[in-house]
């Protein structure tokens, strides 16, 4: 596994980290946006933010994927907030500039493949924000409850309570989520 602290200063370490996680981050983004150009920009933003924050990573606080998902979640949330315009203005790498027609096609396919996840996210809109955040990380992104708790900065028992309540609410709406393997065994 890549030493996270190194990715901000060693291009080879960064490449190993990037190769390990690019697929998951692209899927994470595709579950939340349906524009391939925006998805390309956000993917670049997530890794830029990881480069900047790598020096602060501490292994005893959680896994690298939990840490990276926390960053990805912030990047996507920031895009959705009202200062998205300024975020774009300060973007150091424009992901969309790197896209070819084939890339766009592949990104659109990935986005199409996540359509059901986005529909589920919309169905979760009625949940309280804390419960929604907990459920989307575990049920949609496949994080373990422990990693998801790390992403949200809450304790594991709190995470379990939120998951339980969120499922109860969705059940009352006749929506069902399949537990992930990690969730069933943790």
């Amino acid at each position: 596994m890549t030493e996270i602290a190194e990715i901000g200063r060693d291009p080879d370490a960064f490449e190993a980290f990037y190769t390990e996680h690019i697929e998951r981050i692209q899927r994470f983004v595709a579950r939340r946006v349906d524009d391939p150009y925006l998805a390309a920009d956000l993917t670049a933003d997530v890794f830029l933010a990881a480069i900047d924050a790598a020096g602060g990573y501490r292994a005893n606080l959680g896994t690298p994927i939990g840490w990276l998902y926390g960053i990805a979640r912030n990047v996507v949330s920031a895009e959705k907030r009202r200062h998205a315009r300024e975020l774009r203005a300060n973007r150091r790498i424009s992901g969309r500039r790197l896209l070819t027609a084939d890339d766009v096609t592949r990104l659109e396919e990935r986005i199409d493949a996540e359509a059901s996840a986005r529909a589920l996210l919309r169905a979760m809109d009625e949940l309280p924000p804390g419960e929604r955040a907990a459920l989307e990380l575990v049920a949609l992104d496949g994080l373990s409850p422990q990693d998801a708790a790390q992403v949200l900065g809450i304790r594991l028992p709190t995470m379990r309570v939120r998951l339980h309540r969120a499922r109860g609410r969705l059940r009352s709406q006749s929506l069902h989520l399949v537990p992930t393997p990690t969730e069933m065994t943790s």
């Binding site: 490449e15 933010a49 480069i51 005893n60 912030n74 990104l107």
Partner: protein
């Protein structure tokens, strides 16, 4: 080197290679504990531990496009940061308070309209131990606004809150009990 992923990797490798040496060589010196994020109107939060090191607690840089990039590594030196922000053209009130405290101001001032506020907060929240603000001085000087940057913390944990911009008259910070729940250390 044909796909988007390959080209992005090439650009990101360049970003890493071109980072200033002092940043690339900076190594963690203490464990960071307790990350939480709370968002208010135009606000971001980050929790970090004060580190026992000679590294600066913050940096204020005026960028070529006129914006001011503020990087806060830990909540220390509030009045020094305030002075740096003012020197960079951003009227600011910066107060880092004891854990469990927050500022009460009388009068409280008014939040600006959402439509024309420009404040970018990056890397806040879980594991984003460094808070980065991108500010535009003209938004403050010409519109009578002040950036309110408030923090609370003690011991191993710090919470910094980037408060909403405010217009109108407001008083100095009087520490009062914070309505925020106390942060508990993560295991």
């Amino acid at each position: 080197m044909n796909t988007f992923e390959d080209k992005l990797l090439a650009e990101l490798r360049t970003v890493v290679a071109e980072r200033p040496v002092d940043i690339r060589r900076k190594r963690p010196k203490r464990v960071l504990v307790g990350i939480a994020a709370c968002l208010t109107l135009a606000a971001g939060t980050a929790v970090a531990v004060p580190m026992l090191s000679g590294d600066p607690a913050y940096a204020v840089v005026t960028q070529p496009d006129g914006s001011v990039r503020v990087t806060i590594y830990r909540a220390e030196g509030d009045k020094g940061l305030q002075k740096r922000l003012r020197a960079a053209g951003v009227p600011a009130e910066v107060d880092f308070l004891a854990k469990g405290k927050t500022c009460r101001r009388t009068p409280a001032g008014k939040p600006p309209g959402d439509a024309d506020s420009r404040l970018t907060v990056l890397h806040e929240g879980p594991n984003g131990q460094v808070t980065v603000l991108v500010l535009w001085p003209n938004d403050y000087r010409s519109r009578g606004r002040t950036l309110l940057l408030e923090g609370e913390g003690s011991g191993e944990q710090w919470l910094t809150k980037v408060s909403t911009l405010k217009t109108g008259t407001f008083g100095r910070c009087t520490p009062v009990d914070s309505p925020w729940l106390p942060l508990k250390p993560q295991r």
